[in-house]
C-alpha cells in the first residue's frame, strides 16, 4: 500500500500479547485513516454501551495516509475511544511528531484492549513491539515520564503518555506527546489510565511511500503556495498564535466571560496574543512538516508563576482567563503548564473552574467545600490553585476532576454547567455566532469547535464572509464544515491548512499519496460516512436527540454587554433542518436510505432497531 503502511498493531494488555494484522484496503479507502479508521474499528469491536473505564473499552491510536509524508502540516494522529467524560465517541487529535514516528516504526494504528495487571508502557521499534514494566514511572509528570522512557529505550523515541491526572482517571485527562502536544478532549487520558498504560514510545527508520511521487510533489507545491499566500496560514498564525483570537472574539461580543454569563470581557487584551507576544513568548514552534508554526514556546518570569513550556492557545487563555474573570497572563500560562505537566484538557479544566466559581459566588458551594479556597471570579491565585489541586488529585480537586457537569449536578444545579454531552463548550459564544452553536450541539464528541469550525466564515470571513447572526443557511454550512473536517482529520493533515486550501486540494494530495482516486465528492462523502458512523455509535451507546442541545443559559439568557448584547442562540430553529439535510429522521436517526447511500448497510444492521 502507498500512503498507508498497511499494518495494524494489536496489543492485549490483559494477556500481554502483541500481534500484527494487515490493514484491509477496502476499509482504508472508505474511512481514509486517523479519525475515520479509528471510528470504524471502535464501532466494529466495542460494545457502545460499555463503561468507558472498563477493560472492554478499547483505545486506538491511529495515523492518516498523509501523516509522515511531506504534505504541509501532515503530522497529525488521532486517539479514538469511548470518552470517559462524555460516554460518547471520542476522537482526540494531536500534532507534534508522534504520529509520523508510528508510521516510520511500521504501523498505521495501534489497538489497545483489556487492562494490564500493573502499570506498563509499550515500546515499538522498527516493527518490534513489547510491553515493559512502568511501575517506576507511575506518578511521574509528562516531562519526567518522557525523559525516563527515552533513557530506557532510545533517545530519539517519540513518547505519548499520560501524567498523574490520567492515572487518577480525572475524567478530562488527556494524552500528551512530544511533552507539549495533546490529544486533548473527552477524557482519552482517563481511558489510558484505566488500562494501566503509562506511555507508548515509538521509533523507526521506515518511510511512507507515495503512489505517484511526481503528482504528490506537484500537489504539495501547490498546497504550500496557497497556504503561505493566505494571510492567516502564511503569517497571522505564526506571528501571534491562536491566542490572537481573544481580542477578535471580544470585540464582536462572542468571547464567553465568567462561565458564559456574558460575551465581553473588558480587560481581555491583557491575555490576548498581542500581550502574549510581548510578555511570555520565546519563539513560535511548528509540528512535523509544519509551515504554519502556531505553537508558542513561552516562559513566565513572575516568581509566583515562574515556569517554562508551551502555550497558551486561544482556548486555554480563554478558559483560565476570561471564563474565570482572570486577566493575569502569567497565572493563565502557569495553569496551562500544570495541565501539560499533569496531563489535563485545558478547555474542560478552565471551564470547570469557571463553573465552580459561579457555584461559589451563588453560595451553592462554600469555603468548607473548597478547603478554604476563595473561588471568586477574577481570583487568579485561586484559579491556579484549583488547577493544581485537580492535577495532583488533592482536596477539592477531586470534585473538579469530574468536570463541570457532574460537579454542578452534585450541588443540584446542572444547568450551570456549560456543556454539551457533558463536554465543556469552547471559547466562542453561540449567542453571538449562530452556526457554531449548531455545531456544538450536534458534534458527536460533545461540544467542540474543531468538529465544524464555522468561525472561519462567520467571524474571520474565510473563505467567504457569512452573517454570524443569521440562521438562514447555517445548517448547510455546519454540515459542510463537519464533513470536510471529518475527512481532513482522517487524512492526517492539520485543520489549519484549511486557511488556504479546501477539499479539492486535500483530495488531490490523498489521491497522489495513496493511488486511490479520490474526487472532491468522494473525499467529502468519506467525511459524511465517518460522521454518520460516529452518530450510530452514539445512538448505540444510548445517546439520542435530547443530547443534541445547548445549555439553557445559551437559549434563554441574552448577552448582557458588548457588540452582541441582547442575543440568544436560535439553535432550536436550526436543528430540524439540520436533521433533514443530514438524511436523518425527526429523532436524529440516520434513515435507511442515508445509510445505504454511504455504504453503511452492515453497520445499520448491527445497530438493530435504531435505523
Amino acid at each position: 500500500m502507498h500512503g498507508w503502511i498497511g499494518t495494524i498493531l494489536r496489543v492485549n494488555l490483559t494477556t500481554g500479547s502483541v500481534s500484527r494484522e494487515p490493514l484491509d484496503p477496502a476499509m482504508a479507502k472508505a474511512y481514509i485513516g486517523a479519525r475515520g479508521l479509528g471510528t470504524k474499528v471502535l464501532f466494529d469491536e466495542v460494545d457502545a454501551r460499555v463503561d468507558p473505564l472498563a477493560p472492554e473499552n478499547k483505545l486506538i491510536f491511529v495515523s492518516g495516509p498523509l501523516t509522515g509524508t511531506y504534505a504541509p502540516s501532515g503530522g497529525r494522529y488521532e486517539v479514538v475511544t469511548k470518552g470517559a467524560l462524555t460516554g460518547a465517541i471520542a476522537a482526540a487529535n494531536s500534532g507534534g511528531t508522534w504520529g509520523p514516528a508510528l508510521k516510520y516504526a511500521g504501523y498505521d494504528l495501534v489497538i489497545l484492549e483489556g487492562k494490564a495487571a500493573h502499570p506498563v508502557y509499550l515500546w515499538i521499534k522498527d516493527g518490534a513491539a513489547e510491553l515493559r514494566n512502568a511501575t517506576h514511572l507511575w506518578g511521574k509528570t509528562v516531562p519526567d515520564t518522557t525523559d525516563a522512557v527515552r533513557a530506557e529505550t532510545d533517545e530519539d523515541a517519540k513518547v505519548a503518555c499520560i501524567g498523574p491526572a490520567g492515572e487518577h482517571q480525572v475524567l478530562f485527562a488527556c494524552i500528551m506527546n512530544d511533552m507539549h502536544r495533546s490529544a486533548g478532549r473527552s477524557g482519552v487520558g482517563a481511558v489510558m489510565g484505566s488500562k494501566n498504560l503509562k506511555a507508548i514510545a515509538v521509533v523507526g527508520g521506515g518511510t511512507v511511500t507515495c503512489a505517484d511521487t511526481d503528482a504528490f510533489a506537484s500537489a504539495v507545491m501547490q498546497v504550500r503556495e496557497k497556504i503561505l499566500a493566505h494571510p492567516v496560514g502564511g503569517t497571522g498564525l505564526r506571528l501571534y498564535g491562536t491566542d490572537v483570537l481573544v481580542n477578535i472574539l471580544n470585540q464582536i461580543g462572542g468571547h464567553p466571560t465568567r462561565n458564559f454569563q456574558d460575551g465581553y470581557f473588558p480587560t481581555a487584551d491583557k491575555i490576548g496574543g498581542e500581550s502574549l507576544s510581548a510578555k511570555v513568548l520565546q519563539r513560535p514552534k511548528g509540528c512535523f512538516a509544519c509551515i504554519i508554526s502556531c505553537g508558542r514556546v513561552t516562559k513566565v518570569s513572575h516568581p509566583k508563576y515562574a515556569g517554562e513550556g508551551e502555550g497558551p492557545e486561544y482556548e486555554t487563555a480563554w478558559g483560565f482567563g476570561s471564563d474565570c474573570g482572570v486577566d493575569d497572563l502569567d497565572a493563565v500560562t502557569k495553569a496551562n503548564y500544570y495541565c501539560n505537566e499533569y496531563g489535563l484538557d485545558t478547555i474542560t479544566m478552565g471551564a470547570t473552574v469557571a463553573c465552580a466559581m459561579e457555584l461559589y459566588e451563588r453560595g451553592l458551594i462554600t469555603p468548607k467545600d473548597t478547603g478554604g479556597l476563595a473561588l471568586e471570579f477574577g481570583n487568579a491565585e485561586a484559579m491556579v490553585e484549583a488547577t493544581r489541586l485537580t492535577a495532583q488529585g488533592d482536596g477539592f480537586g477531586q470534585k473538579l476532576a469530574l468536570g463541570s457537569y457532574r460537579l454542578a449536578a452534585a450541588y443540584g444545579h446542572p444547568e450551570l454547567s456549560m456543556t454539551v454531552k457533558k463536554q465543556e463548550m469552547p471559547a466562542y459564544d453561540p449567542r453571538a455566532i449562530q452556526g457554531i452553536g449548531l455545531n456544538y450541539a450536534t458534534a458527536n464528541c460533545g461540544a467542540a469547535h474543531v468538529r465544524g469550525y464555522t468561525i472561519s466564515p462567520e467571524v474571520l470571513g474565510t473563505p467567504i464572509k457569512v452573517n454570524k447572526d443569521a440562521i438562514e443557511g447555517k445548517p448547510e454550512l455546519v454540515i459542510q464544515f463537519q464533513n470536510l473536517t471529518a475527512a481532513l482529520d482522517a487524512s492526517g493533515a492539520c485543520l489549519f491548512t484549511t486557511f488556504g486550501i479546501g477539499a479539492d486540494e486535500l483530495a488531490a494530495l490523498l489521491s497522489a499519496a495513496t493511488g486511490v482516486e479520490y474526487s472532491t465528492a468522494d473525499f467529502l462523502k468519506c467525511g459524511d460516512r465517518i460522521w454518520n458512523l460516529e452518530r450510530l455509535f452514539n445512538l448505540k451507546a444510548g445517546l439520542n436527540a435530547k443530547d443534541d442541545s445547548l445549555p439553557p443559559r445559551i437559549l434563554e439568557e441574552p448577552l448582557k454587554s458588548g457588540a452582541s448584547k441582547g442575543s440568544v442562540s436560535r439553535f432550536p430553529e436550526m436543528l430540524p433542518t439540520y436533521y433533514q439535510l443530514r438524511g436523518w429522521d425527526a429523532a436524529g436517526v440516520p434513515t435507511p436510505a442515508k445509510l445505504q447511500a454511504l455504504g453503511l448497510v452492515a453497520e445499520r444492521a448491527v445497530s438493530g432497531s435504531l435505523a
Binding site: H230, P231, V232, G236, L237, L239, Y240, G241, T242, D243, V244, L245, N247, I248, Q251, I252, G253, D269, G272, G273, E274, C294, E313, Y314, H449, V450, Y453, I455, S456, V459, L460, G461, T462, K465, N467, K468, L495, F496, F499, G562, A563, S564
Partner: protein, 89 residues
C-alpha cells in the same frame, strides 16, 4: 471617533488606539486617511486590491463586510476596530 488597533496594526501605527478627527464620512474615507498617515504597510494589512477581504473592520462591533463595506457610514461618536487577517482555532 475612536479607532482601536490590534495585532500587527499596533506595530505599524505604534498605537493601541487613537481619537480621530471626525472628517471621515465613510469607512473608505477613514481608510484613505489612515493609509496616508501610516503608509503602504498599513494598506497591505487592511486592503486587498483596494477592497476589504480578510481584515476585520468593525464599527461599534459590527463587521462592515455585513453592512456597506467601504461605503459604511461613520458618525463622530463611533468606535472603529481594525484587525488585520489573523485567525486560529
Amino acid at each position: 471617533m475612536k479607532i482601536r488597533y490590534f495585532a500587527t496594526l499596533r506595530d505599524v501605527t505604534h498605537k493601541t488606539e487613537e481619537d480621530c478627527a471626525p472628517g471621515a464620512v465613510t469607512v473608505g474615507d477613514l481608510l484613505r486617511d489612515l493609509v496616508g498617515r501610516y503608509g503602504h504597510t498599513f494598506e497591505q494589512l487592511v486592503l486587498e486590491n483596494g477592497k476589504l477581504r480578510f481584515a476585520l473592520v468593525l464599527v461599534n462591533g459590527q463587521d462592515v463586510r455585513e453592512q456597506q463595506g467601504l461605503q459604511t457610514p461613520l458618525a463622530p461618536d463611533d468606535t472603529v476596530v481594525m484587525i488585520p487577517p489573523v485567525g486560529g482555532g
